[in-house]
Symmetry: D2
Amino acid sequence: MIAVLKHGVSESQAENLINWIKAQDVDVHLSEGQYQTVIGLIGDTTKIDIDLLASLEIIESVTRISEPFKSANRKFHPDDTVVDINGIKVGGGNFQIIAGPCSIESPEQITEVARAVKEAGATLLRGGAFKPRTSPYDFQGLKGEGLELLLHAKEQTGMPIVTEIMNANHLPMFEHVDVIQVGARNMQNFELLKELGRTKKVILLKRGLANTMKELLMSAEYIMAGGNENIILCERGVRTFETYTRNTLDLAAVPMLKELTHLPVVVDPSHATGLSRLVKPMSLAAAACGADGLMIEVHNNPQKALCDGAQSLTPEQFRDVVSAVNKIRAVVKEL
Amino acid sequence: MIAVLKHGVSESQAENLINWIKAQDVDVHLSEGQYQTVIGLIGDTTKIDIDLLASLEIIESVTRISEPFKSANRKFHPDDTVVDINGIKVGGGNFQIIAGPCSIESPEQITEVARAVKEAGATLLRGGAFKPRTSPYDFQGLKGEGLELLLHAKEQTGMPIVTEIMNANHLPMFEHVDVIQVGARNMQNFELLKELGRTKKVILLKRGLANTMKELLMSAEYIMAGGNENIILCERGVRTFETYTRNTLDLAAVPMLKELTHLPVVVDPSHATGLSRLVKPMSLAAAACGADGLMIEVHNNPQKALCDGAQSLTPEQFRDVVSAVNKIRAVVKEL
Amino acid sequence: MIAVLKHGVSESQAENLINWIKAQDVDVHLSEGQYQTVIGLIGDTTKIDIDLLASLEIIESVTRISEPFKSANRKFHPDDTVVDINGIKVGGGNFQIIAGPCSIESPEQITEVARAVKEAGATLLRGGAFKPRTSPYDFQGLKGEGLELLLHAKEQTGMPIVTEIMNANHLPMFEHVDVIQVGARNMQNFELLKELGRTKKVILLKRGLANTMKELLMSAEYIMAGGNENIILCERGVRTFETYTRNTLDLAAVPMLKELTHLPVVVDPSHATGLSRLVKPMSLAAAACGADGLMIEVHNNPQKALCDGAQSLTPEQFRDVVSAVNKIRAVVKEL
Amino acid sequence: MIAVLKHGVSESQAENLINWIKAQDVDVHLSEGQYQTVIGLIGDTTKIDIDLLASLEIIESVTRISEPFKSANRKFHPDDTVVDINGIKVGGGNFQIIAGPCSIESPEQITEVARAVKEAGATLLRGGAFKPRTSPYDFQGLKGEGLELLLHAKEQTGMPIVTEIMNANHLPMFEHVDVIQVGARNMQNFELLKELGRTKKVILLKRGLANTMKELLMSAEYIMAGGNENIILCERGVRTFETYTRNTLDLAAVPMLKELTHLPVVVDPSHATGLSRLVKPMSLAAAACGADGLMIEVHNNPQKALCDGAQSLTPEQFRDVVSAVNKIRAVVKEL
């Protein structure tokens, strides 16, 4: 960490600051120039509160040189983490497609979709039982009952399941869930992250609406700090001024995150764009730029026949996407 | 709600859609033009999932005409809500200043700051016991012990207290807390909001990092739907590309929110700007545009003497801000 | 266009509004409900100022149903536009790679890079002579002299050239330039767009830092309204809160724009990310999601050997990108 | 400027870099730590291209310590600049209100509005003759004829006039214009800025849609580098995800800019919010936080009686705003 002092800072002010830094077990390297004084902070600076330091009256600027994340950092763990979900591997060259309906609605619906997506090439089944909704008046999911239906579909198809948790108190209900999803709105629900860090469950951690990659990695770090290193990161679009698409999918985050961390990175083109007709091109793009997997919404609900254009694909459309993605993957693996 | 069909939609597709809408107890008014067909949805459309509707292949666009929030809506509740905190009133012309340290650190610190801010004109005491931090390695607050210290300061000074909750399971510890704060990162932690809706506590609900005013009101609606109408909204800056300030304080949200809702709106200039020297001008601006109160960080920690420029003010600086704000308030009340 | 009146608007207010609309040669279809009145505006509503309408006291909301762009709209021109640059075609299945240095620096530099990129598979040569720089103290390009060097490189290699214009008064100097680039900062320099609309030059129009796709298409419309339909759109990243990458590349804009317009869409991964090591994955992703071409920075400057990681690739790295992109393209063409 | 080298950079690489820096007349101070090497760049670093440096493979991070703006920098010019417009002073404690219609429409309209706003307390008259519009089909202003009408209103009322320029070629027409406005969309039209730098006209420079304060100051620097120091900065809202207001007014930019620069800063609440009913509270807030003036839209057009809620105020509403602003100003001056 490098701190630059403002012009005109007195010696005693600088000394106070240096003593305060040293009191936190961090060494100091002082470099005095004609116009400015630069303080290098050497050692374990993860404990230094950079916001506090930057806000001091005598400080011109602070730059953190080493990333504030450690367990998730590729520098200290150069090899790709391969997350193993009942034998289904994600990361380290292993690419998986998670598919299923946005919400679990009935035993027939979830089981039918499960069979259809499995047959089309999905290896993990997703389905929402607890649904985070902006409005308290919108459907909040079938909750516990939905989980039961999802577990039933798992039994019927043998597919490991992925579903979202919204409350750490629900963890006992998630005992047989294979991958626990943390949604975008809970990415910085630190209490939830800490609880998940105490489990050994695989966690699918979605990037928040307006969170930086660094913050995503710091949230992963919360889970890892508790001892759970089974984490899959998920890029699902960020909020911008653009309105044609629901969010702005940040695909450059895929190679950038993979440079910064050893954790696998998957992409959710359904939520990112909010438009089913953009799911295919964005799935291909995600596969092309090195994602370790995809999470795609697929429905199979006659009541929704009219919702043909929702962010969910029909099973036939999904099959087409899987086939195309596999062709791109075949090229990418040879590059 | 107005839905516009795409050009070329068949009659049977339109009929399917209309039946689906009617099945949700919403009436339909059809208007067929030469180039487009417009469907008016009449009745209680809060149950209609606008995202789903908008995403249908046959839909060109959907506009929600009535706001999706009801309990918080000024249309149905024209008079200002006045929140009463042990006799301290917020809203309806009552302006209050909440002040205190970012984190509770020791009995001396919190009690000293409490006395200092009370003497300077603050009417509510704030202090963080549970601290949401981006990094798991940063100080997470004194937690339960911090709450005890805050309660002690309340006893000593008679000031009602405001402090942040991060986990609904902690609610029993908050029994004697007067105002429970929901932080920006938990604004869409819907499980927490629901739990708070079941209490009768006053809730200070902060706007999320990248949340719209409508989403803030929908989060208030979650609490109100549970029966708790004691809510104070707080504008604390949103995330943009600007880097000189920590966030971008959206002061136009003050009069805009007050037009949309009857709930009181306070402003937190300390977190919004991250710079103590901007707290005074932004406090004056907030008072000038009609805010119902301010939440300001004040420290009194000799160890932080060097942190003169942090987002926290010294008690002397705070006294100066209060005095200036009162002068602006005196003018505003006469306008 | 659909305008919804506020509750409680008087008949005479509504009548005034309707007369004002009709005075602009737009028909009105009125639909009065119990709670609200909806006005459908029928006919050529491109002349109606939607901002003005939306801001009227009596208006609840306005929705534009038909897009405000006409010449660029795929609805009225379903077939892909194929832009022809001296026989090099862009769009309609024709994919081209534009490559070259950020700035033209010397005759040797530009000619050497031109030869290298041509040999590696680029079909168009780019190079900056007039450079828009945030700071007046930064290098502003070789200007006219740079253009001369670029034209010389064109002669030597036979490659058509692409270079940025910053001032309509410079147009005479661009006589032998094949493609005139409008940079992100000039996307809404309407005076420049109008001048370019009066030429027959191929225009490469870059999306602005914080401009929506609709605004990009409206800027294309400025050029087309003048009679010049030779336009290539370029996605180059938008400004967000993320800092690891220079901008946030919005690849969903590629299929979305191609749905909205018949104009070709290319992607500039070099400026979008600012990091040479992200150029390859983002080029592959752009090719995978249907872009009509790429614009990539390549340098060949021994002085910059140390700048290995700049946003520019070396010719060897570029050759590798071209080869990989071609493999992805081969798959995409068969999908 | 401080550059931090990546771990593992070889001595020869570091030496190459240092030689390259020194070749630009900048001295180097090397500080080698156990984990990292830090290079301090000493001297006039405004010529160093920070983007280029930051993008080098061997560089971990670069921090600019001294701001890249010089002429606009308060450090080198501690006293407030007072801009004098025919005796009307802006800055250094002088507060002015600019008012007038969005567009000049007729001789009667502009003269009537001019008289009305003068009588209400405005000291400068604004009116648009050249209008930047997103759509080529929207009204583009009366252009030269509009300027004539504005000059006529100036003659009639004696008020200095403010109007926007969109093309440097129009400068001869602006001979008798007192203040030339550069609109948000042209804030980085560097060719226009350079031309304006060659004049002695007062320039009102508006912040761009998504530009940082630093970029605004760099654009001022373009004008000042040409020798013209008569600049007034204008905050007019930035683009965010919020939709209730047209833009997000960044009032913290007022005290922040006034700390960074000696130039006066005014606020445009009309464009910032797009809603006339927010103009008053935002004007009061701007005055309270230290703005040097306001720019407010006022109309006086019977045809627009129905547009009561547009972003323009009626003369009566404007009079009320001026009176309230003056009361706030009276308090602020005494603080």
